[in-house]
C-alpha cells in the first residue's frame, strides 16, 4: 500500500527547508507525485545527502523507500500481466503449423512455466527444446540451466547438478545464467555473486555491453544478495525494453522472445531496495519521521515476505502516542493481513469486521479491498461497503474505491464489471497518462481489457506506460502477437 499515506508523506517530506525549486529532493518527490518512479529514484539516489546531514539523509531514505516500494508493487502487477499475456502468446505460437515454426518457443515456454512454478510443464518444454535439431549451443545451454533448475525445485538435485555441470562456463552470459540459477535455488556455496563479478569483469574487458539476459540475471542475483548499489548502476544503464531472443524461421518472419522473469526480478530488487532504505531511515535518530518510517517499513515487510517483522513494526507504530489516525487504521489493515499470512484467518476476519464497523472512510475500505484481493481473501462485506461508497464519494477517493472494486472484479473474472469500475475512476481527460492516473490501476484496467479481447485499449495503455517503464515492452510485444492472431476483421479503413 505505498500510495495510502502519500499526501501525509508529501507534506512531511516537503517540509524540508529548501532554497530553490531545483532542489533534487523536491524534484524527486514531484516526479513521484507524477508516478515517474524510476526517474524519481534515480534523482534521489544520485543526490543522497552526505552522512553528516542526518536529518536530510533520513528524509531521503524515507522518500527512496516509499518510492521503491511503489515501484516494486507496480512491477509485481506488471509481472502478473506479462506472465498471462506471454503464456497466451507462446501457446498460440506453439499451435502454429507449417514449416517455418518457431523452435525457440519451447525454450521460452519452459522459462515461462518455470517462472510460474509449473515445474513438470517447464521440464517438458525444456526437454522438447533439447531434443530438437539445429538449435544453437548457447540456447541449448540455457535450456539445460532451466531444466536443471526445474529438477532441483522438484527435489531432484542429482539430475540438476549433472545437467548444470554440462553447461559451458563461457561466454559470460552463460556463467551468469548459471550463477543466477544457483542463486535462485539458494545454492550460495556455488558463490553466484562472485561468479557474476568475474563474468562481468570479463565482459567489460572485451568491451561488450551486457545483454538483457545478463541484466535480468544480475538483477536477480543482486536482489537476493542485497547489492542495491550495483543493481541501480546496472538498471540505470540498461535498455530494459530489449528482447531476449530474436528468431528468423523464414524470410520476413521475425519472432521476438522475452522473459517475464525480468519484471519479477525488478519487483524483488525494488522491494529489497525499499526495505534497505527504510531500515536505514528507521535506524537514524529522526524522531519527526519515525512514525512515517515505521508505517512504510511495516508495509514493506508485510508486502514482501516478512509478516512477523511487519507485525512488530506496525505494533510499534499503532501503539505510539499521537500519529495520524488514517495511517494507523491502514496499519491495522496491514496487521489483519499479517495475521492471515501467519495462518490466523479468524483474526483477520474479526479485525477487518471491526474496522468495517468503525464507519471507515472510503480510502480505508479501498485499502481493505485491495489487500483482500492481493491475498485472494474473500470478504463480501468489504465489497458491499465499497460498492455503496462508490456511489457517494468524489475526487481522488472516488478513483481509489473504483480501482479497488475493479481489481476485485478482475480477480473474480467479471471483466465487464472490472472495466466499468476502473473506467469510472479513470481521469478521462488524461486517459492513459500515468501522471494523472495511478499506473497500478492502468495495468489492471489493461488486463481487464485484454481479457475482454479489447486489445487496442490495452495496447494504448501500455504504449503510454512504456514511455516511463521501458520493461513494459515485453507485454506490448506479446499482446500484439495475441491480437493479430485473434482479430477478425474485414480490412476496412475510412476517412473522417
Amino acid at each position: 500500500m505505498p500510495k495510502a499515506g502519500f499526501i501525509l508523506a508529501m507534506m512531511v517530506l516537503l517540509a524540508l527547508p529548501s532554497h530553490a525549486a531545483k532542489d533534487p529532493f523536491k524534484r524527486g518527490l514531484q516526479l513521484y507525485k507524477k508516478h515517474h518512479y524510476e526517474d524519481a529514484i534515480q534523482l534521489l539516489y544520485k543526490h543522497l545527502p552526505s552522512e553528516d546531514k542526518s536529518d536530510r539523509r533520513g528524509k531521503a531514505y524515507l522518500a527512496l523507500g516509499m518510492i521503491c516500494l511503489a515501484n516494486a508493487g507496480l512491477y509485481q502487477d506488471l509481472y502478473q500481466a506479462s506472465t498471462a499475456t506471454n503464456l497466451d502468446y507462446l501457446n498460440r505460437l506453439l499451435s502454429a503449423k507449417g514449416p517455418s515454426k518457431s523452435q525457440l518457443v519451447n525454450l521460452y515456454l519452459g522459462k515461462a512455466f518455470l517462472e510460474t512454478g509449473r515445474l513438470s510443464k517447464a521440464a517438458a518444454f525444456f526437454k522438447k527444446f533439447l531434443v530438437a535439431e539445429n538449435s544453437k549451443s548457447r540456447d541449448r545451454d540455457l535450456a539445460k540451466i532451466g531444466l536443471a533448475t526445474a529438477f532441483y525445485l522438484q527435489n531432484k538435485p542429482a539430475e540438476a547438478h549433472a545437467l548444470w555441470a554440462q553447461v559451458k562456463k563461457t561466454p559470460p552470459e552463460l556463467s551468469i545464467s548459471l550463477a543466477a540459477a544457483y542463486s535462485r535455488v539458494g545454492l550460495t556455496e556455488k558463490k553466484p555473486l562472485a561468479t557474476c563479478k568475474t563474468a562481468l569483469d570479463l565482459l567489460r574487458q572485451s568491451g561488450d555491453t551486457p545483454s538483457i539476459q545478463i541484466i535480468n540475471n544480475l538483477i536477480g542475483v543482486y536482489s537476493r544478495n542485497g547489492r542495491i548499489d550495483a543493481g541501480f548502476e546496472l538498471i540505470n544503464r540498461a535498455d530494459l525494453k530489449a528482447f531476449f531472443h530474436e528468431e528468423v524461421p523464414a524470410p520476413n518472419k521475425v519472432i521476438r522472445f522475452y522473459d517475464s522473469a525480468l519484471l519479477s526480478n525488478l519487483s524483488s530488487f525494488y522491494a529489497k531496495a525499499a526495505l534497505k532504505f527504510l531500515e536505514k531511515a528507521y535506524a537514524l535518530p529522526d524522531k519527526k519521521n519515525k512514525g512515517l518510517t515505521q508505517y512504510y517499513l511495516g508495509q514493506g515487510y508485510g508486502r514482501f515476505g516478512n509478516p512477523e517483522q511487519s507485525m512488530r513494526i506496525m505494533n510499534e507504530f499503532i501503539s505510539a502516542a499521537g500519529g495520524p489516525h488514517r495511517l494507523k487504521n491502514r496499519a491495522r489493515v496491514r496487521q489483519a493481513f499479517n495475521h492471515y499470512l501467519l495462518g490466523s484467518k479468524e483474526t483477520t476476519t474479526s479485525q477487518l469486521n471491526a474496522l468495517l464497523q468503525s464507519e471507515p472512510e472510503s480510502d480505508l475500505v479501498a485499502e481493505m479491498l485491495l489487500s483482500a484481493v492481493r491475498y485472494q481473501f474473500d470478504a463480501p462485506q468489504i465489497v458491499i461497503q465499497a460498492s455503496a461508497m462508490a456511489q457517494r464519494v468524489q475526487g481522488r477517493s472516488f478513483s481509489r474505491i473504483n480501482f479497488a472494486l475493479g481489481k476485485y472484479y478482475l480477480w473474480k473474472k467479471n471483466y465487464p464489471k472490472a472495466i466499468s469500475y476502473m473506467e469510472a475512476g479513470r481521469d478521462k481527460s488524461h486517459k492513459n497518462r500515468v501522471e494523472f492516473n495511478d499506473p497500478l490501476m492502468l495495468v489492471n484496467l489493461a488486463q481487464a481489457y485484454y481479457r475482454s479481447r479489447q486489445f487496442s485499449e490495452a495496447l494504448e495503455i501500455f504504449f503510454e506506460m512504456n514511455k516511463h517503464f521501458a520493461a513494459v515492452r515485453q507485454i506490448q510485444d506479446a499482446l500484439q502477437g495475441v491480437y493479430i492472431m485473434e482479430q477478425k476483421s474485414a480490412g476496412d479503413v475510412k476517412i473522417f
Binding site: L93, A96, G98, S100, S102, A250, N252, K253, V254, I255, E423, K428, S429, H430, K431, N432, R433, S452, R453, Q454, F455, S456, E457, L459, E460, F463, E464, N466, R473, Q476, D477, Q480, G481, Y483, I484, M485, E486, Q487, K488, S489, A490, G491, D492, V493, K494, I495, F496
Partner: protein
Amino acid sequence: MKRLASVFLTIFFLVLVMMLPQAGALSKEDGSPDGGALNYGEYGRPATLDPITSNDMIALRVCELIFNGLVGIDEKQEIVDDLAQRWDISEDGRIYTFYLRQDVTWHALEGQDPVPFTADDVIMTYNVMMHPQTITPLKVRYEFIDTVTKIDDYTVRFTLKRPILNALARFSFKIIPKHGLQNSEFITREDPFVQHPIGTGPYMLKNITAEREVILVANENYFKGRPHVDKFIARPFADQNIMGQALMFNAIDMIVLVNHRDIPQLQGDKRFVLQPYNALSYSFFGFNMRNPLLADKRVRKAFTYAVNRKEMLDSFFQGQGTIISGPFAPGSWAYNLDVAPLPYDPGKAQQLLTEAGFTRGDNGIMEKDGKPLSLTLKVPIAKESEAVKRVILAFRNYLSKIGVEINAEFQEWLAWKEDIFLNHDFDIMFASWVFDDSADISSLFHSAEAGPWKNNFGAFSNPDVDSLIVESKLTLDHEKRRTINRKLHDIIADENPYTFLWTLTNYAAYNKKLRRVAIHPYKFFTFADGWFIPKSEQR
C-alpha cells in the same frame, strides 16, 4: 363489486392489447420497451449512404444501421451469423459456401410489398463491387475472390483464388438489393440508390431533411426482431464545439465523437455517460506527390521535422493523445514499437531543404529552379473545430519558419472530398484515417490505389512497399504478417508520405436515458438494435 371487477378486466385487456406488437412486427422479446427517438450529433454530412461508394465514417455509421453482411461480429469479437445462417469452409480454405436465411426481406418502399432477400442479391453485390466502372476502395479488399456461384436461391458459393487469413470476417461486407440499383451492373455516385438506400438492417431510411439530417425509422420486420428505439436521427454539426453544447442542453442525446475540450465537463455531469471506444485512428497531413516539389522525400521529412507535434497536442488537445511515427495507430497489433516519431528539429528541416536544392528567395520563401515552396493546404470544414483551426494555423507558422508558405483553405466536406480524392487538386491535406482491427493499409499506400476516388490520394509509390503489401496479403502466417507490417511501418515512416500526427482519445457521450448501450469501436452502431429508452424517459 362485479362492476369494479369488469372495469379492471377491461383495463387489463386494453393494456394487454397495447402491449402487443403491431401486426406483422417481430418483437425482440427481451423484455426491453420499444419507443423513443435518438438524436445523435455527427461532425458532417454523409456524401453517400450506400456501403459501396462511401468511404467516410459518417456514412459507415449510417450504413451499419441500414444494411447487413453475410456474417457479423459480436461483442466478444466472435464471428456470428447475419444474413447467412450458417456456412461451410472447404478443407483447403478456398471454398466458402453460405446458406442464407430465408426469412429476410428488403425494406419495403411505400405502397409496395417487401421483396425477399436471396442469393441473387449477394451475387449482384459482389459483381457490382468488383465492376471496373464502380469506384470503391472496397475492390482491393476483395481481389482474393475468384468466383461467386449461385447454388440455389438461398445458397451461395465463393471460391477464393487462394486461402487467406481472416477470410470469413471479410464476408461481413454489406449486401445491397438487386432491385435497388438503377443499373444492376455497377454503381456510381449518381445512382439514386446512394441517396435513398434500401437495406435489410434494423433501420430504414425515412428521409433526408433540407438540413441534411438523416432520419431512420425502425424496421418492424427486422429479421432479428424489431429494434427498440423508434427513430435514429443523425444531425450534422459543422462545428464540434456546438455539438457538446447541444448535448448538454438536451438538443441531442448522443455524440459519436466528443470534442476533447468537453471531456472534463461531461465527465463531471451525472446526466451523461462518457464511454471510451478505441477506434484505431490517427490524424495526419498528407502530401500530394504529383507536385514535383513534394516528390522528394527530403522535403516531406523536412516538413515533419519542422512541426512541433508535442506542443500542438499539449496546447490544442490538452495532451489527450499520442504522437505516432507511422501508418498504424499505437493500439494496433501492426504498430512498430521500434520506430520513434521524428523529433521537432527545425535546424534539421532547414538542412534537408538545402540538401534537396532549395535556397531562400528574396521574399524569404525557399525556392528551387525558380519555383517557390508555396503550397495549398486543404482542410474539410467538418474538421473545423477550434482545435483543428489552431493546428492548421500552427502548421502554417512552423513551416513559415523554415521558409515554406502555406495557404490554408477550409472547404465544405463534399467539395473537399472531390478535390482530394477525385481531382487531386491540393498540395497538402489534413485528415484522419480510421481502421478496423486488420490494420490493412493496402488501399492507402499501394501504387495501384492512386486513381480517382481511391485512398492513395497522394499517389505515393514505392516498389518495396507494393511488394510487402502483396506479400502481407498472401501469407497465411500471422507472425510473418506482423513482421511485414513492422517493415512497412519502418519504410513508410522514412518515406514520409504524410506528416503523421497523433492518435486522439475517442469518447462517445450519451444521455443516461439510453440503456444497454454497447458500442463497436469501429462501426459504432453494430449493436444498436438492442439499445432502448425506458418508457418513462421517452419523449
